[in-house]
Amino acid sequence: MTETQTTAEAVATTGRALLEARDLHVQFSSRGRRARAVDGVNLAVGAGEIVALVGESGCGKTTLARTLLGLERPTSGEVRYGGAPLSYSSRALKDYRRQVQLVLQDPMGSLNPRHTVYEAVAEGPRIHGLPDEREIVTTALSRAGLRPPDRFFLRYPHELSGGQRQRVVIAGALALDPKVLIADEPVASLDASVRGEILALLLRLRSELGLSALVVTHDLGLAWNIADRVAVMYLGRIVESGPVEQVLTAPRHPYTQALMSVLPESPERVVLTGEPPDPTRIPGGCRFHARCQVLASGQAAEAGVDARCRGELLDILPAVPEAQTACHYAATTT
């Protein structure tokens, strides 16, 4: 616990974090075993910053996002917004909803098929009893790029295209005038040609409204497209984070390197073997060691860190903006 205290202090020194996770743990019981879905995460999103959280399915990125939204309660650690820890009283949570909003992957599923576009966007303002509902809806729709807004008021989700639906979902979030948007795979179920438009919309909202965003994705290309910083997650922990240019052009963690190598354009492929990650059975030592190509190829042994890879736990990365990585091997090569 003392060790995590120090990392928490390191976070505090950065000072500019709007939304942050401090030493966050979330556990579930699944079939009698404890799944450590989020297993010690420090992550900060600054004002006006777009952070991409990258990882494979099952790495805990969606759980982390839901916990940051207050939809899931952490087992330990805390979510902080604007420097204060998030309170889970229903009143405090309701206020928090006006600050941090959600955009889900499947825009068809995230809209009630029986509600019109107007009702869908007005849902937030109605819940919070905001005045001038019509005005808010009009502004939100046009900010989300649905113009002229009143032409969309009475349409139903099934009458819209995929891209338009996702814009309605974004407009619904914007209607509460939030400071942070948490988007879980916002373009994964959209057509390729529409994808760029939605990502461009997120960038525009940042420049026009100063909106921060945490974009959860498995797609490194998306991170390259719009994010300032990227955090790579593996089995409940962030294993590498830093500015996109640095992390994605010169990845230092073997897992990030492997993810990069399987992109279609990359010259040489590292296809990881071994069992897919299982949060109920997190290996000891470095949690990646069982699949690590650097350890498997003997490079780690050459550097003399193979024993540490297998047996020595790594510190939880602090939430600093600089590039950092949780890897015994990478630490020896700096």
Partner: protein, 293 residues
């Protein structure tokens, strides 16, 4: 804007009607139902409760159907036609109110059990299961016997014993709706339990509920008749009590087939009509069935 949304609603309604019209059984059932309900409502304009009074029975006893008594008379010389007509008021009233009671309990319990997962939901489901495995007819009989015979008792007895099936149905639908991403989005927007259940869950279970209500009315009418036949009645003339009387006074021995047949037919026709309408509603309103069709 309101005018546009009402126009939309009207359009949806006309679309619903256009589809309902294709179900011939449903339309026939609806016509029969409307006729039965109207007849029951206007009955006091033409006859009064006197037609069920033994003292007022002035006709010939055990008279077979004839021109003056189209459905014959009973052991006291009362007209079967007029008694079936008057009795429909009790039968339908009990049918509707018992179904309403059962649906309301089932809806509240079902939505609550589906919405509040964890121990509150589990506890509610245990209670539901407990009621489900009670032999409902016996329970209703005991309830009616203990509480004493009145229309209200019979309604309570039927309502309390039939809600678990509705609760299970509604809970399943609630769980399905709550798994949709738009519930997650709504929660993230700050919605509380009340908002989610009334804005998202209720509209989604409503069509199912409407269809199951009509079926529920039919089964309540049958249950009422059964209870009456077994001796637990509201002490008012209903189709069930008529059947009971025909048995008590040995209509079969007297060869008075009309005494048994006419109330029986009345039950059959009305129950059939409700069932037809219910099935048609289900087919039109339940998206899963509609897609399969």
């Amino acid at each position: 804007m309101t005018s546009v949304s009402t126009a939309r609603r009207r359009l949806a309604l006309s679309r619903f009607w256009a589809e309902f019209r294709h179900h011939r059984g449903g339309v026939i059932g609806l016509v029969v139902l409307v006729a039965a309900v109207l007849l029951a409502l206007v009955a006091p304009l033409f006859i009064s409760e006197n037609v069920t009074s033994v003292i007022e029975g002035v006709g010939e006893k055990w008279a077979p159907p004839s021109l003056s008594e189209p459905f014959g008379t009973d052991e006291s010389g009362r007209s079967i036609l007029l008694m079936v007509w008057w009795g429909s008021r009790t039968s339908l009233l009990i049918g509707f109110l018992a179904a309403l009671l059962s649906i309301v309990i089932g809806l509240v319990v079902g939505v609550a059990a589906g919405h509040f997962r964890g121990w509150p939901g589990a506890a509610l489901m245990r209670v539901t299961d407990w009621f489900l495995v009670l032999p409902s007819l016996v329970t209703a009989l005991v309830l009616a016997a203990v509480l004493g015979g009145s229309t209200f008792t019979i309604i309570m007895a039927i309502g309390i014993t039939t809600w678990p099936a509705t609760a299970r149905l509604i809970r399943a639908q609630t769980l399905a709706v709550e798994a949709r991403p738009y519930i997650e989005r709504s929660k993230a927007l700050g919605a509380g339990h009340w908002h989610i259940t009334t804005r998202h869950v209720l509209p989604n279970v409503a069509p199912l509920l409407l269809a199951s209500t009509t079926l529920e009315v039919a089964s309540a009418i049958v249950t009422e008749s059964t209870l009456a036949f077994l001796g637990a009645s509201s002490n008012k003339t209903s189709w069930g009590t008529m059947l009971r009387a025909s048995y008590d006074f040995g209509a079969a021995n007297e060869g008075a087939w009309w005494y048994i047949l006419i109330p029986g037919l009345a039950i059959l026709v009305v129950v059939m009509a409700f069932t037809l309408v219910g099935r048609a509603l289900e087919a039109v309103l339940n998206p899963r069935l509609r897609r399969a069709a």
